[in-house]
């Protein structure tokens, strides 16, 4: 079993690392750079080395370490193999196998958005729930689905890709994924900026948003000041995102949606725009789903990664 567990969240620029006790209290947190050159061949050795250094620094014995959990930005199958992670330079990579060899410790691997959901369920906004959907509204939209306390990773590791649900017919601009009309094109930080641009182009009305750089934060700040164009933008955003989450709720009947990512910094005002369309479109039996804000921020990944190990060993 052991007394400690490592949680690792591999991003395109830096690797976040955490050392936790078995109750999930963070003993230490640090970062190392992500060396993506040469197909990212140094990333896993760098992580293993950092872990060995930390174990030495803390004067732990290896037997005290239950294992290593790793969150990666790509689809992960049941054997801990990542099927490409473009941001890391990786082709198909058997992360579990490599890290177990490098570290001599049991290793569990998950997709970063899925793992963040696990972290928020364990120690964040979703604490106390075992059936939840995490929605990360950042540059894109990430998602993680948890049913009865377990991650829905999907048969090919593509579970929780709610940003790429088709939500809008007739869209002319393509999504990053190549499709047209994905939820991500309207509900992400980038999507909100795009929606605001359309609203501003449709009229000549004065708006705070014409005087500054338009960001998701600027839009919701302006909403609070009563700006009409910002409110119209927020309504279009809420209508589309609320409808998408209603579809998910009709299929899964989760207890709670945990909303995270940069856009969630706008706060609970988001729910004023998401909740009414959600209730309009959702099946009545799933209408009681709650909406809460994520609370772990950028630490959700390391917490969730640690939990991956605890779920595997307990």
């Amino acid at each position: 079993m052991g007394n400690y567990v490592f949680g690792v969240d591999v991003g395109g620029t830096s690797v976040k690392m955490g050392l936790f006790n078995m109750e999930g209290m963070a003993v230490d947190k640090w970062e190392i750079p992500t060396r993506t050159e040469n197909g990212g061949e140094n990333i896993l050795p760098d992580i293993a080395e950092s872990i060995h250094e930390k174990i030495a620094e803390k004067q732990y014995s290896k037997e005290e370490i239950a294992g290593i959990g790793i969150a990666v930005p790509g689809p992960v199958n049941g054997a801990g193999v990542v099927n490409k992670a473009v941001n890391l330079g990786w082709d198909v990579t058997p992360v579990k196998e490599i890290m177990e060899k490098l570290s001599g410790l049991p290793t569990e691997v998950g997709n970063d958005a899925n793992v963040a959901a696990l972290g928020e369920m364990w120690k964040g906004g979703g604490k106390g729930y075992t059936s939840l959907v995490m929605v990360t509204l950042g540059t894109g939209i990430g998602g993680g689905v948890i049913v009865d306390g377990r991650l829905v990773t999907g048969v090919d590791g593509a579970g929780g890709e709610i940003g790429h649900m088709h939500i809008m017919d007739g869209e002319e601009e393509p999504c990053n994924c190549g499709c047209r009309g994905c939820l991500e094109q309207y509900g992400s930080a980038t999507g909100i900026v795009r929606l605001a641009g359309k609203v501003l182009a449709e009229s000549d009305e004065p708006s705070i948003l014409r005087e500054k750089e338009v960001t998701a934060k600027a839009v919701f700040d302006a909403v609070r000041e009563g700006d009409k164009a910002a409110q119209e933008t927020a309504e279009r955003f809420g209508e589309i995102l609320g409808k998408g989450l209603a579809m998910i709720a009709s299929v899964l009947n989760p207890a709670v949606f945990v909303i995270g990512g940069g856009v969630s910094k706008a706060g609970e005002i988001l729910f004023d725009y998401i909740r009414p369309p959600f209730e309009k479109y959702v099946f009545s039996g799933s209408r009681d789903a709650k909406f809460v804000l994520a609370t772990l921020g950028n630490d959700a990944g390391i917490y969730g990664a640690a939990k991956l190990v605890l779920d595997a060993v307990q």
Copy 2:
């Protein structure tokens, strides 16, 4: 443990019953009428009596019976309580508790559409898969979601209500659920008839469908004969259903969709219309989902109900 298990599927007209060995071979199958009068107060006692008679007839001892699985047409919570079943006359009913008292046997309860999915996974079209979505295209659309071999019942027992996903903006006619634009309004047997009516009303072109009663079966028979209006109907049906299943696949990344219900009698020709829009709308990582036909027909419920018990005791 025991050597046998009962699987019971309670419908509005009759109760289907099956006696299975622990490997899921049917030892006996029979039906009794569903007495819905007086708030359906006789339904569970009738089932218990029929089970006792069957045990006596077979000269089994009670110790040989592992338990009773019951599928009911309504939402079921984790404690085996049904939150209203209109077709049976039931208000909130603690089915598990009542049946365990009446029978003296461990009882498991599930929603009928969910339980059918379990049956098809165990012994039907979904055999060999542990991650599947069952879609029952009947008068309405029923659904059941299975992840890692376990049913996703939802926190309020409303999991798998894919017939009431919102799929179409601007619909004027209401769905049975009160919303407008549910998947069921286009993808069910009733929905296909409605779509055919619209296609026929839009032109004066001759069509086989103008000469007979329009049913889902008649539409797909006419498709096979090259009838233009029938083909246009099938295309609209496939576009909407394929899009809805693509949304589900983007969230869950299942291995397979099992298509059952009356409409599925049309056969694999359905997939010619569902698959292309599915592939157009689905996230690339979930595109490999298979489509298969259900094979158990009306027996899916009794098989799935029996499996509920086996999953609980094993």
